[in-house]
C-alpha cells in the first residue's frame, strides 16, 4: 500500500457506499462507489475509462485485466473497495498518444492487434510480466499470459510483440521501428508508401493499443435507458398469453415491447424470413426472445423482465436432425423441417463405383461450436430527427438496416446503422442480435436505449457452427486415382434458417476437396430442430467437409499403398484436371499443388508400399 491519505474501507462502509481514494494511472483519484461495486464498473462507469473491457464478467477471459500495485487482477471480479490507497494502472495510463509504451509500439509493429478487444488486458498482463522478468522466454510469456484469451491472432504475434518490447526495454530506449532491410529501390518505395504488398500498420491500431477505440459497450448517451430481454425457457411451446402489467408497474421501468408492438414485418432472415424479432404464437428454441424491457438501470430491467408472465403450452420437441427429417417428428414450420436440400450430380456415379478397385466408406460427426468472440453483442439505439440511429456490432450494416426498417415499416433511409469497433465476429455478428430490441424500445420511449449481452446470454442465443453428419463413399482405381464419390450430409440448422441453407450449399460445392472428381453425387440437407440456431461461422461448412474428405483421401492412400502426399499429388486439381465438383473450369488460377508442396516441405511421409 502506498501512503495515500483516505479512509480505509470498513465493513460497515460497504453497505452505505464509500468514497474511494487511490492512485489511478499516476494521479490521485477519489470517487464515490456503490456498495459491492467491482473495480471494472468503477473504472468504466464512474470514471469513464472504457479502455478496460468486459468480456465475460467471470474472471476467465482477461479482457478486464488491470494492475493493482503492479499485480495483475481481473477487475470484473475485484471489489473496488480493495483498491483504497493502492496504485491502479489501466491501459489509459500505459503510454500517451505522443509517447506510446514500448509494449504498445511493439503490438502495433508486430501485428499483434486485430479486433483490439483483448489488447488492453494483454498489454497490462505483459507489463506485469516484464516488470518482474525483463527477459522472459517464449514459454514464460505463454504461461504468464495464459489467463488472457484472444480469438483473433492465434497468439503468435502477441508473443513476438512481448519479446520485441522486452528487448527495447532492456536497452532502456524508446521503441524505434526498425528500418526495412530491403534495399531494392522499387520495393522500398512501395513499403514506404504502404502500397499493395507492404505490411503497413493497421490504421485503427493506435486507438486500440491506447484503449481509445470505442466498442459498443463503451458508448454512453445522456438519459439513456438500459434493456434486458425475456427469453423462452422452453425448446418448443405455444405462447398462450403474455402479461406485462406487474413489470410495467416497477418503478424505473420505461417501456416493454412484445410482438404486438411491432408495426411492420415481424420476421427476418438473410435467406428465409422465418425468424420473428419477438415471438408471437410459438417459441422454437430455448432463449428465443419474447419481450424486451427498457429501464433506468440494468438492474431494474433485469428485475422487470422476471415480472413478465408468459403462459406457455409446451409442445413435443425434436433435437435429432435425422429424426426431424421423419414425417412423425414434431414439425417446427408448416413447410416442414427440411429447410433446404442441395443436390450435385456429375458423371455416371454408379458405373464408376462398379469399376473402382478401391472403395472406402465412413460416417463422420462434427460438433456444435461457438464463435466465442471476446466482445459480447452490444449496441445503443438513439432516436433522432431522421428516425433512429444504431451504434452497434455488425458485419454488414446495410443488411441489418433493411431488416429493421421492415420491422418498423419505415423507409430504409430513416434507419441508420453505424458499426462500432467490433471485438471479433467470425460470422456470429452477421445476423441481428441486440438490434431489434434497442430499436423498438428507443422508438417507443423516444430515448437512447443500450443493451449489452452477458456472456451467458451470448453463448445461449448466438448462432453457432453447424454440427454435421457426413456419410462419404470414395472409389479409386488400384493406383489411387479417384473415380467416384458420394456424400450425404445432414446439417442441424436449429430452430431458424439464419445462414443454414447457404452453409449447406457451400458444404455441397466443397464436399470433396481440391481434387478432380469425374463422377460424384452429393446431397446436403439443412434441417430444423429445437436446438440452438446454427448459422454463419468462419469456414461456412467447409471445415466439417474437409474433416471428412481429407480422411477419406488418406484412407484411399492407405489401401493403394501410397503416402498421403502421393495420393494428393495424383488427384489434386492441376491445369490438366482443372474442373471442380460443380463443373467449373478454373485452370488459370490454380495453385493447390503449390500450397501442398510448400506445406509438406521438410516432412517425411515414409514409404507406404
Amino acid at each position: 500500500m502506498t501512503g495515500l491519505v483516505g479512509p480505509g474501507p470498513r465493513v460497515d462502509d460497504l453497505t452505505a457506499g464509500i468514497t474511494l481514494a487511490f492512485i489511478l494511472n499516476g494521479k490521485p483519484c477519489s470517487v464515490a462507489v456503490e456498495p459491492g461495486a467491482v473495480l471494472l464498473d468503477v473504472l468504466r462507469n464512474d470514471l469513464g475509462l472504457t479502455g478496460t473491457k468486459r468480456g465475460c464478467g467471470e474472471g476467465e477471459c482477461g479482457a478486464c485485466t488491470v494492475l493493482v500495485d503492479g499485480r495483475v487482477v481481473n477487475s470484473c471480479l475485484y471489489p473496488a473497495a480493495k483498491v483504497a490507497g493502492c496504485e491502479v494502472l489501466t491501459v489509459e495510463g500505459l503510454g500517451s498518444a505522443t509517447a506510446l509504451h514500448p509494449l504498445q509500439e511493439a503490438f502495433l509493429a508486430q501485428g499483434a492487434v486485430q479486433c483490439g478487444f483483448c489488447t488492453p488486458g494483454m498489454l497490462l498482463a505483459a507489463k506485469a510480466l516484464l516488470d518482474e522478468n525483463s527477459e522472459p522466454t517464449e514459454e514464460q510469456i505463454r504461461s504468464a499470459m495464459s489467463g488472457n484469451l484472444c480469438r483473433c491472432t492465434g497468439y503468435t504475434k502477441i508473443v513476438a510483440a512481448v519479446q520485441a518490447a522486452a528487448a527495447v526495454m532492456r536497452r532502456g530506449g524508446l521503441a524505434a521501428r526498425e528500418p526495412d532491410s530491403d534495399t531494392d529501390g522499387e520495393r522500398a518505395r512501395y513499403i514506404a508508401s504502404g502500397h499493395v504488398g507492404a505490411s503497413v500498420l493497421r490504421a485503427d491500431g493506435p486507438a486500440k493499443v491506447m484503449g481509445a477505440a470505442k466498442f459498443a459497450d463503451d458508448l454512453h448517451r445522456e438519459g439513456m435507458l438500459h434493456a434486458k430481454v425475456l427469453r423462452s425457457p422452453h425448446p418448443h411451446a405455444l405462447i398462450l398469453a403474455i402479461d406485462c402489467s406487474a413489470a410495467i408497474e416497477l418503478p424505473g421501468v420505461e417501456a416493454i415491447v412484445t410482438a404486438a408492438d411491432i408495426p411492420g414485418r415481424n420476421s427476418f432472415g438473410i435467406i428465409v424470413k422465418d425468424q420473428p424479432f419477438l415471438a408471437t404464437d410459438k417459441v422454437r428454441y430455448v432463449g428465443e426472445a419474447v419481450a424486451a424491457v427498457a429501464a433506468r438501470t440494468t438492474a431494474i430491467a433485469e428485475r422487470a423482465r422476471h415480472l413478465i408472465q408468459v403462459h406457455y403450452e409446451p409442445l413435443p420437441a425434436v433435437f435429432d436432425p435425422r429424426e426431424a427429417m421423419g414425417a412423425e417428428a414434431p414439425q417446427l414450420f408448416e413447410e416442414g423441417n427440411v429447410r433446404a436440400h442441395r443436390h450435385i450430380e456429375r458423371g455416371d456415379v454408379d458405373a464408376a463405383f462398379a469399376a473402382a478397385e478401391i472403395i472406402v466408406e465412413e460416417t463422420f460427426h462434427t460438433q456444435l461450436v461457438e464463435h466465442a468472440y471476446i466482445e459480447p453483442e452490444a449496441g445503443i439505439a438513439v432516436p433522432d430527427a431522421n428516425g433512429v440511429s444504431l451504434f452497434v456490432v455488425s458485419q454488414g450494416v446495410h443488411y441489418q438496416r433493411s431488416e429493421l426498417a421492415a420491422m418498423l415499416d419505415w423507409p430504409a433511409s430513416r434507419v441508420r446503422v453505424v458499426q462500432t469497433t467490433v471485438g471479433g465476429a467470425f460470422g456470429g455478428k452477421i445476423d441481428l442480435n441486440v438490434h431489434p430490441f434497442i430499436t423498438l424500445l428507443a422508438v417507443k420511449t423516444g430515448r437512447p436505449v443500450k443493451l449489452v449481452y452477458t456472456r451467458e446470454e451470448s453463448m445461449t442465443v448466438s448462432t453457432k457452427r453447424h454440427p454435421f453428419e457426413i456419410h462419404v463413399r470414395l472409389g479409386a482405381n488400384a493406383e489411387g486415382r479417384f473415380l467416384a464419390a458420394e456424400a450425404r450430409v445432414i446439417g442441424d440448422t436449429g430452430a431458424y434458417s439464419s445462414y443454414g441453407p447457404a452453409v449447406l450449399t457451400r458444404a455441397a460445392t466443397h464436399a470433396l476437396g481440391p481434387y478432380y472428381m469425374p463422377n460424384a453425387r452429393v446431397d446436403t440437407f439443412a434441417v430444423h430442430t429445437n436446438n440452438p440456431i446454427a448459422g454463419a461461422m468462419r469456414g461456412f461448412g467447409v471445415p466439417q467437409m474437409a474433416a471428412a474428405h481429407e480422411q477419406m483421401v488418406d484412407m484411399v492412400a492407405e489401401q493403394a499403398g501410397l503416402t498421403p502426399l502421393e495420393v494428393r499429388l495424383r488427384n489434386g486439381l492441376e491445369p490438366d484436371l482443372a474442373v471442380t465438383l460443380t463443373g467449373h473450369e478454373i485452370s488459370s488460377e490454380l495453385s493447390y499443388l503449390e500450397t501442398l508442396g510448400a506445406a509438406t516441405e521438410g516432412f517425411d511421409f515414409g514409404d507406404r508400399r
Partner: protein, 354 residues
Amino acid sequence: MRLRGTGIGSAYFGIGNTGMANPSSAFVEVHEDGSASVSCGAADMGQGAATVLAQIVATALDVPVDRVAVAGTDTMATPNAGVSSASRQTYVSGNACLLAAEQVRDFMLREAATLLACDSPEQLILENGFVQIAGEPEARVSLREVASSCRARGRLLVGSGTFNPDTVALDPETGQGEPYGTYAFAAHVAEVDVDTETGEVTVLRVRAAHDVGRAINPQSAEGQIEGGVAMGCGYATMEEVVVESGHVLTKTFVEYSIPTFLDVPRIEPILIEEPASSGPYGAKGLGEPPVCCTPAAILNAVFDATGVRMTRLPLSAENVYLALQAAGYRDGQPPDGLLAHVQRRATAVQGSKG
C-alpha cells in the same frame, strides 16, 4: 505411450457467395491537397479490411497510404458492400474500391493533360504523387495541383465503383455451375502427439500454406492464417457446445474452453501468390480457408500416430481414449494389428528432417 503423427489437411475455398449476386460498391474522393477518402460499407471486425482497402486505393492513386482514410461503415455514409462473410471483402470490395479509384485517376489524368497541354491522356503516367508525360520527366504536375485545378474549374474528384463477381448459378437439378469468381487453395501439415493412455492430443506444429492471389498486406495475411489455425485447433481438439434437450449447458468460458496461449502450436504461415485475374492486384480472399484445413490435418495426424480413424469431433481426451479402446488399445498399448503401423510411424519420425 506418446505417439507422434503427421497429417495433411487441404481445402479449396470459393470466394464470395455461392452462385448468386453479391456486389459491393465504393466511393473514392480525392481532396484538394491530393489526399483521398474512401467510403465503402465493408465491415472490418478486426481482420483488417479497412487497411487493405486503403492500400488498394493508395496504390491506384499512387499516394502514400497514410494520405488515404477509410470511413467506418455507416448506412448514411458508406454505400452497400454486402456483409463481411464468404472471405469476400478483399476480393469484392477491394475491386469496388479499385474501380472507384481508377475512375478518379482517369479524371485527374484528363485534367493533367490539359494542364500539361498534352493531347493524349494515354501518354500520361501517375507516379509518386505526380502526373508526367511518359519520357518527359520535366513535364509534370503534382496531384495537389491537379486536384486544385479541378476544384477551381468547378469539378470534384469523386469516383464510384461497383463490383459483382462473375458467376453462373448452380443448376437446381445437377448442382453444376460456376459459383465463385475465384478460388483460394490451401494445404496444412499438422504434427501431433497422442498420449495413448489418457487420449490427450497435443498439437505441436502446423505448417500452413495459403494461396492468397496477392498478399495486399503480408503481415495481416499471416495474422489471418495464425488466427484461423488457432481456431481450427480449438475446433479439432477441445471445443463443443453441449446441449441437453435444447438447453445450452456450456455458457461460460469455464464450461466452453477456447485455445489459450498454452494450447496453440508453433504456426508457420506460408503465403503463395497465384494472382486471380479478376482480383484487385490479383488478390483472392483469406478469412476462412485457414480454419478449413487445420482440423483435417490434425485428424489425419492422429491416425498417422495411432492407426485409428477418428470419426467424431472434437478430439477431446475422452473421445480419443474411447476410440483407442474401441480399436483394441489397452493401457495405452496398441493391439497387435496396429503394431506395424505404430512402428512404421516411429521409423518415419526418426528419419524425418522436419
